[in-house]
Symmetry: C2
Subunit: 347 residues, 2 copies
Amino acid sequence: MPSQRTIALDAMGGDFGPSVVIPGAALSLERQPNADFILFGNETRIREALGAHPALAKRTRVVHTDFVIASDEKPSQAMRRGKGSSMWLALEAVKNGEAAAAVSGGNTGALMAMAKLILRPLTGIERPAIAALWPTVTAECIVLDVGANIGATAQHLTDFAILGAGMARALFHVERPAVGLLNVGSEEIKGNEAVKEAHAWLKDHDLPITYKGFVEGDEIGHGVADVIVVEGFAGNIALKTAEGTAKQVRRYIKDAMGSSLLSRAGAMLARGGFMALNERMDPRRMNGGTFLGLNGIAIKSHGGSDAVGFASAIDLAYEMADSGLIARLTSDLAACQTMTAGKAASG
Amino acid sequence: MPSQRTIALDAMGGDFGPSVVIPGAALSLERQPNADFILFGNETRIREALGAHPALAKRTRVVHTDFVIASDEKPSQAMRRGKGSSMWLALEAVKNGEAAAAVSGGNTGALMAMAKLILRPLTGIERPAIAALWPTVTAECIVLDVGANIGATAQHLTDFAILGAGMARALFHVERPAVGLLNVGSEEIKGNEAVKEAHAWLKDHDLPITYKGFVEGDEIGHGVADVIVVEGFAGNIALKTAEGTAKQVRRYIKDAMGSSLLSRAGAMLARGGFMALNERMDPRRMNGGTFLGLNGIAIKSHGGSDAVGFASAIDLAYEMADSGLIARLTSDLAACQTMTAGKAASG
């Protein structure tokens, strides 16, 4: 099935449109040489940008549209009036089976609203989530929901656990991903009702995961679990706080290393180490918010990202598409619903 | 009024009791030479530790008790059965006017429950909050609530704004502290109902603050406001996530600087810079969760903290006590209640 390796790109999304999307795709193609692309947007601009990337041009089909969703468009308007836009067409390509995943750097709210409308939620999923890759001291983990929804019931949280585990299986190649539930303490009495109820459910059910119980904010980056489940408001704040803290520390390092002649000389000598550090802390490596819980893969790239960042988002889309994520999630969710129904019937 | 400068210490709280509390108090006394102390706990152990700190011994009164609240005691039990414990007596000293603030490294839940019972909430405050000092690139800010409560109404959030502003006035000496409301986006349509309603109220009322509107997680550390208001579940997760991220980056720096001979040599040469960096990132500098909204000041020191960290918590208690925080808060809250009542009457 060739479409399994075809990625649909909204060439007009993000702050820079084709001038970032096309070099990003070219970079990703070097790493995933079997990928094919469909690019949606202004054909003249796309062809122009493709001129510099002949290898990419050979594996790319261009679909012209002049209609672009504005970055400040309200999600409800985008849903009603977005048909035919580059974003809409990229998602439709996934729905029609022409592509296995869509990537856009456009308006997050609009993309989420359209993705729900076009791809539809998986059976049993009431609220799709946005999952983020989070660097840890050992490797990386998946945190969800980082802001698709405000508020979550216990059922939503347990759904997130199953969705996140599916993504971890696809990306980290572990059969039973370790899943933790983000809370304000590790004792069973801590947290709100939804968190406590989700905890009890995850402990009691035999899911294809290794449930690690409650996890606190300072443990996310320490590699305690492959998947961290959290309600979207707190999850968004956690993600942005971590990004802000990392940026703040980079600023501290710069200040400290420029503070004296000796420090500047030492930093120069250690520049190999600083380069390794910068690479490890490069936020572009982890670019890409994944919409999980839909009949298809949709990835939001950061709107201000450059080609390196956009390439990371495409890599992510490719890896997940290539792993057969959606088919596996569908069967996991069905098994889960049988469990719950069985319990209700016997309980 | 000499008690304005008297600090009550739970000498038995935290993982190390008097062996951290007494050297911590001695360190704080060097910085605040007008401070007096009342120490509650096992007199023999306290006297033993005081032997090494004659300057502190001269300014200290010891009150013996053998009763210590266990670190795993439930808050409800601590409230019912905690009378006479070192923690209880330290809070009672504040209530009786013998001390202006209490500091304990003991069980947070127990301390909060007892503090509410003994000190009582300020008039009009339904939910006291825990405020944390948060380092920023320019200086520091105050974030509350970092976990006293789970969930918050709009009224709770606006109360937190006033309480946090009072603390900022006491510590940062600004007459109209800048206050931001933590949210998942800066647009007015973002967030939950409580956040939106609190935002509208803060915009519409003439409070002794400069209201900055919504703030996102990545802005906390960038010095955009003196006070950041957030519901306790998300606030606790934000605080711990920031702590964890800072720790993670320290680990990255260590790895990077040890990765080659050249990097190690450079790091050695730049050790002045690294020392400055370590000092700036030292979590002990910001130790101390302040309980705000009570008729008295109570500070929770981190249970695992050493003397340097405990001294920071005492410094914080001293500065706030010395500033007349409670009197000012009482009048701010009364003015605020008049506003709300006026609006209700005219509306």
